[in-house]
């Protein structure tokens, strides 16, 4: 259901202010969403003054700097720092993206950093993605080729392989799904752009033999057709993929195929 307001326990309070101690002239204010599960308090937004003269170029570098030099209690996910693992997905300046590939120079003014939208917060910038992973599991994201031999490779033409371009590169960072208003309001039933892009990836795979069953599975008012082409997903994707187009292709297949 559409609920515009945040629940009472989620309302954001004013937080602490960490004044610069380095004496740097090149300071930037970073506002970060904080929630400590052990405190029993509401979430708050803390503000940090960060010395930009000694900070590398990405938003993740700022977070590392804050954690290492100013406030070690800050919690966020990160791993590869090269846009490959998808751990550091978060909302920066009102847009989802990977902190490790988002240059802070692209953001004007103070930098607001929140967890991915409309998720249960585990701590600070860490959101609970269990629901999304369960949905991912539900589309059975693996090759199903019952009749073909499992000991020989399955040949795929170059054209058929090209169909997977723009779908296989997804790193499941959840930037797209958590940017989607439809997913916010119906995330328990609507599969969301990330999972539907993966559903598409297996539907168009020439080696897969369960195409019809896969299509049938997603052909559902809530699972698929809650996509209203808002395109927040496509503009959020840090890998430059187009989940909205993949969803439209699934809809087209369903409209034209005999299922």
């Amino acid at each position: 259901m559409v609920q515009i307001n945040l629940p009472k326990n989620s309302e954001i309070k004013k937080g602490k202010y960490f004044k610069d101690k380095t004496g740097s002239k090149n300071l930037r204010k970073i506002n970060i969403y904080r929630w400590d599960p052990s405190s029993g308090e509401n979430p708050r937004v803390d503000t940090y003054e960060v010395d930009m003269d000694n900070c590398p170029s990405k938003v993740l570098d700022i977070l590392n700097k804050i954690k290492n030099e100013i406030d070690p209690t800050l919690a966020y996910r990160r791993s590869c720092a090269h846009g490959v693992c998808g751990s550091c997905a978060m909302n920066m300046a009102g847009k989802n993206g990977l902190a490790c590939t988002t240059p802070h120079a692209d953001i004007k003014g103070d930098i607001d950093i929140y967890p991915l939208p409309h998720l249960k917060v585990k701590k600070d910038l860490i959101g609970d993605l269990d629901g999304l992973y369960k949905q991912y599991q539900s589309i059975e994201p693996w090759l199903k080729s019952n009749s073909k031999s499992e000991t020989k490779e399955i040949i795929q033409s170059k054209e058929d392989r090209a169909k997977l371009d723009g779908a296989y590169e997804c790193i499941m960072c959840a930037c797209c799904s958590t940017s989607c208003p439809s997913y916010w309001w119906n995330g328990d039933k609507y599969l969301g752009p990330a999972v539907l892009l993966q559903a598409y990836r297996w539907i168009v795979d020439s080696r897969d033999e369960e195409r019809k069953a896969r299509l049938k599975k997603v052909a559902d008012e809530l699972k698929l057709y809650r996509c209203h082409t808002i395109l927040n997903c496509t503009s959020a994707c840090p890998k430059g993929l187009n989940p909205a187009k993949a969803i439209a292709e699934i809809k087209k297949m369903l409209a034209t195929a005999n299922i």
Binding site: L6, K120, L231, N232, A244, K252
Partner: protein, 127 residues
Amino acid sequence: MENKPPLSPHIQIYKWHISSLVSISHRITGIINIIAITFICLLASLLVFGESKYEFIDLFLSSLIGKFFVLGLTWSFSFQVLSEIRHLVMDLGYGFELKTSRMTGLVVIFGSIFFTVVFYLIGKNFL
């Protein structure tokens, strides 16, 4: 005390894009148009009851609220039609690239304002 995890902020913090703005406006104008068509039907059926009722309609339409009503509807209908065309093209699988969708979105927004002005001028016999 039980510590229920809070919900991270969503629509409060998410930046608006042209595409999301057009999408939500499409819905809002759709609802406005349905109510408006019902209202126009009611006005039209008043005509059956004779001249005095017609005067009432005339009075309403020439009042400030009436004028706003007519002009507003001209816009919301223009917007709905243009946006619907955009949606139909998208249903065919085209126009999903970010640049294209931003451009078609802008066409819908400025086109609807353009048509509102055009229809206003036609109504005033200027065109």
